[in-house]
């Protein structure tokens, strides 16, 4: 069958050419779309919480870039941090605000990003199954603890356990996504879980867990933190757009830090599908400025460095990188000055205490 062979050779040639068509879309002088991402929610809705959630909810960027004809695309993948790293790596993203640990892992693996601002702080909650008989953090030793691995909670657990002289290896870790954590708690297969307020407090409300410990109300080690980052190749090609996006981001942080917006904030966060009440409980009594500060202060840097040490120790990152080179606060300082917010947020020292002037 001669012609078949010819056909086949043709196909082979086509197959060889295929990957070149794969090659990445070239950076254009002016993009027609800006893609941003934030950690996803279990319901899979394209909304988030924190500053990035507000930026999304208020549609600040959409309004900002409408005259330029630039579209804004949002991703809130359920795979959260690791999924965002993947999207960065195959250049499907320009900006993202996500947890400190995957931040570091992504940068450590060689994803060329730069930190523009901090994502803010959010307390970590340790929920335990009432029947598990866990009364103190020390009781967690040998117990089954669920959270999504590769996220900031891996670091949070390590820091929280360190407070009582334990390590992550002293508990049995179950790598589960949100809904699976619920099921596992329900069936009694895990004894405890680590999460943010909206998730854990919703379970508390349904009576499945009790809060054993939380970092709420204090900058205690173990709170989640994260960064707002930009892909370097994009930043180099479009410095002006980066400045405008960061401006929007800082405005969103500002909005989220004003107590008069508290109720609106809850409404925006509830778009994620998490119950509004759990946000109310999570934020109750907190100074919104503490939660949503974009400042790249010493506290933030200390957290990131702790994250890097941890990821190196856990072999999540194979070789260290220069944190200070990664975090570029020049643009943030300029933006704060332009907006007149220089004194709005108080920088914190490495221990989390406010810096006294």
């Amino acid at each position: 069958m001669q012609p078949t062979r010819r056909t086949f050779l043709g196909l082979a040639a086509a197959a060889a050419v295929f990957p070149t068509t794969f090659s990445i879309t070239r950076a254009q002088s002016k993009p027609d779309v800006i893609r941003l991402a934030g950690p996803g929610n279990a319901a899979g809705r394209p909304y988030g919480n924190g500053s990035i959630g507000v930026l999304r909810g208020l549609e600040l960027l959409e309004k900002e870039f409408e005259p330029d004809g630039i579209r804004i695309e949002w991703q809130f993948p359920r795979g959260t941090g690791p999924a965002i790293n993947e999207a960065f790596a195959n250049r499907q993203l320009e900006f993202a605000s996500y947890g400190g640990l995957p931040n570091v892992v992504g940068r450590g693996a060689g994803v060329r990003t730069t930190v523009l601002a901090a994502s803010g702080i959010s307390p970590t909650y340790v929920g335990v199954r009432p029947a598990a008989g866990i009364k103190t953090l020390a009781d967690l030793k040998g117990k089954k603890v669920a959270f999504q691995r590769g996220t900031i909670f891996e670091l949070s657990l390590s820091l929280i356990l360190a407070g009582v002289g334990l390590k992550n290896e002293d508990v049995q870790i179950f790598d589960l996504q949100g809904a699976d954590q619920t099921a596992a708690i329900q069936s009694g297969d895990v004894d405890a879980l680590l999460g943010q307020g909206n998730q854990v407090l919703a379970l508390v409300k349904s009576g499945l867990v009790e809060v054993l410990y939380s970092t709420k109300g204090s900058p205690a080690p173990g709170s989640t933190f994260g960064s707002f980052t930009v892909l370097d190749s994009f930043a180099e090609a479009n410095p002006e757009i980066v400045a405008r996006v960061l401006r929007g981001y800082v405005q969103a942080s500002h909005f989220a830090s004003l107590d008069e917006n508290r109720e609106k904030l809850y409404d925006i966060f509830a778009l994620t599908g998490s119950p509004r009440e759990s946000y109310v409980a999570d934020y109750a009594g907190d100074d919104l400025r503490d939660r949503n500060s974009p400042l790249l202060d010493d506290f933030y840097r200390a957290n990131i460095k702790a994250g890097l040490d941890f990821t190196l120790e856990q072999k999540l990152v194979r070789k260290p990188f220069d944190v200070d080179e990664w975090i570029k606060d020049g643009l943030l300082t300029k933006t704060l000055a332009d907006l007149g917010y220089e004194a709005f947020w108080t920088p914190r020292a490495a221990d989390g205490k406010a810096v006294q002037f």
């Binding site: 794969f22 590769g150 790598d175 589960l176 069936s187 009694g188 895990v190």
Partner: protein, 288 residues
Amino acid sequence: MSDVTFKTAGSIAAAPFERAAGKASSHPAAAFRLPRWAKLFLLGIVPPIALLALWSYAVHQEWLAEQILPDPRLVYETTLDLLVTGQLPAELLVSLGRVAAGLALGGGLGLFFGLGFGLFRTLDIYVAPTVRAICLVPSLGWLPFFMLVFGIGEGLKIVLIAKTCFLPLMVGAYEGIRNRPRKYDDVSRALEFSWFARVRLVVWPSILPSILTGVRQAMSRGWKVLILVEMISSAAGLGYLMMWGRKAFQLDVVFATMIVIGLVGWALDHALTRFQHRTTLWSFKAAV
């Protein structure tokens, strides 16, 4: 869950080699005097080598970011590293144990039900449709229930694999019973076989091919669903290792695991096919 074992895979498995070789030798271009297996081998490794070359070239040219297209050498080193440190064998052992347990449980029940439906018409009419309908819901769809009922521990994995292995063996045993050649019943009567001898010498051998086909499918599906459930909820096993590689953003680990998953799946299928060919050779020939 998803299974790509084809119904006639057994009979094709042998055929392509003979024909490919036959064609190659009659072809004027292939005039070198190489043994058939060597020709096949040389042909067969061309695409993998080409792919490897392309891969290396792509890495070299940085078509894709290095994080998502690791150097083949790194993948090789990682695979070796995982093997030497014993991590991969350990995870593999965990995974294989789960498949074996699930296959034994689900396959055994499937066999039992299949034989029951095949032998008793009442059961077949009243019960079998419901059982089949339940089986038609994909394993992944059952996951929410199973998680609530069995938790997320070892039980869940084994039950889910068992559920997956159930259907192929049930169908295998059922079809075996229903389609078994009746003409041999007269033989066993004329030879005055006891009930036991009848089952052992006539009935069982006649349904064995169909059951073995079921076992092969069950194994293949079981292996695939295992990877799935390990990816979702686990603290050990190949699927877990792969997810860890993903979360640590170390694609070399992902590649290494994928290769192992593919190889082990292939080895299991191949071994079972060989076994099936050896034990029930007659059925492949008699069918022609």
